[in-house]
């Protein structure tokens, strides 16, 4: 499965797309597929500080509760209230309309510790075997 190449990935299946000082965070197609029907999304408030690798919210499917981890540190500038109202949007378009939060990126250099699309592809491939 080809991942979008314009962003970085975590081993926990989040993505972050960085544009200058701002970033968008979501979960991957693989993550939404593994979770199944998403029924509940709990996100941090605007202004909250995120620390790389720490939980920032929760996504629940019918059967499972999963933490969402911050791919990079930063400060929340916007929360996608439409996925809170309609969590199935994360299933429908995880890389697009199903984004979760926008942030001011604290240290863009942290992205170097993340996976690029090819490395994430390899991770997903390995996990499905």
């Amino acid at each position: 499965m080809a991942q979008p190449t314009d962003r970085f990935y975590t081993k926990e299946h989040e993505w972050v797309k960085i544009d200058g000082a701002s970033g968008v965070i979501g979960i991957t197609e693989h993550a939404q597929s593994a979770l199944g029907d998403i029924v509940y999304v709990e996100l941090p408030k605007v202004g909250a500080s995120l620390e790389q690798g720490k939980p920032i919210g929760v996504i629940e499917s019918v059967k499972a509760v999963s933490d969402i981890y911050a791919p990079v540190s930063g400060t929340v500038t916007e929360v996608n209230s439409s996925v809170v109202d309609d969590p199935a949007k994360v299933n429908g378009d995880p890389f697009g309309d199903g984004w979760l939060v926008k942030i001011d990126v604290g240290d863009a250099g942290q992205a170097k510790q993340l996976l690029d699309a090819a490395a994430y592809d390899a991770l997903v491939e390995a996990e499905s075997h």
Binding site: G36, Y40, E42, E60, V62, K63, V65
Partner: protein, 368 residues
Amino acid sequence: MTNATEERTALYGTHVRLGAKMSPFGGFLMPIQYSGIIDEHRAVRTAVGMFDLSHMGQFVVTGDGVPEWLDTLTVNEVATMRPGQARYNIFTNESGGALDDTIIYRLPSHWLVVVNASNSAKMWAWLGGGAAKPSSVSLDDRTQRSALIALQGPRSVELLQPLTSVDLGSIKYYYATEGMVDGVKAEIARTGYTGEDGFELFIAAGDAERLWDKLTAKGTRVGLRPAGLGARDVLRLEAGMPLYGHELDETITPLQAGLDWAVKLDKPGFVGKQALIGQRSRGGYDRIAGLIMDGRAPARAGYQVFYDGAAAGEIRSGSPAPALGGKNIATALVSEKAAAPAAQIEVEIRGQRHPAHVVSLPFYKRSR
């Protein structure tokens, strides 16, 4: 992810071919979902869902004195069952806790005791060992030679009738009969665990794949979906049915689980009877309550429950309920006061308390 020690049912290859998500359950590698839990749930509530339940333990019991013996081990009556009847029952220990819950079938030439996969080994050991089986009674664990395919949903009769000469209309709810289904020998039971009409087909393991494929082909027209254990758990919770390990276990009695209707304390002696008589006469015991969350966060097994500001018990099962418009439903084992219908309680979710209220079970009842 998978463990080599897990068993596979006769339909394992079929599930993999269908792209099911497989997960360990009760010692077997079982399909959790195919198209998605919500889609599969909808199929069962409005059309037909097809389940592989071959992981469940199937014990055949024959000989003189079978019902009298089973009556000494269980809370519900066995000896009063009519030919062809199926009855929900619970095996109890001396303290009245549940060893397992089961459906017992009275078939023409044998009794069939169907136990939970997770309890199969324990129940085999109990029935064959500790339970003082009379020498006139024989036990046979046919699980590995058998398969169990369940069709559940309002269009089950429409799907199944063309494949059998048995008049399905003559099989009442919680009855069973022997007959041929698409040319193979079957025990056809009008039982289930979803709150819908439907059938459970006990067949030989070697017939399972062909019958599954035939039902799939014939089922397209009536909206059949293969359905996994994920949907099954949501369906049974909506229907207020207990799941062993959640609403029942060795420390939770059938009275605590609210299964009083199945507990016949006027039956002659059975294991746990004195403990249950004592519990009922004392009253005031913790019990299973049905909850609906007032907010959007789902309650999950293990979350703490508070009543009047104080700890009152814990959630035992929880899920969003598609049949209730996505509301979050749960069961909790709580104090008598907290279990009263309409009681306002709180559920602690990730450190915050969320309001909920108690309702009578079941959450969902089909219109007949």
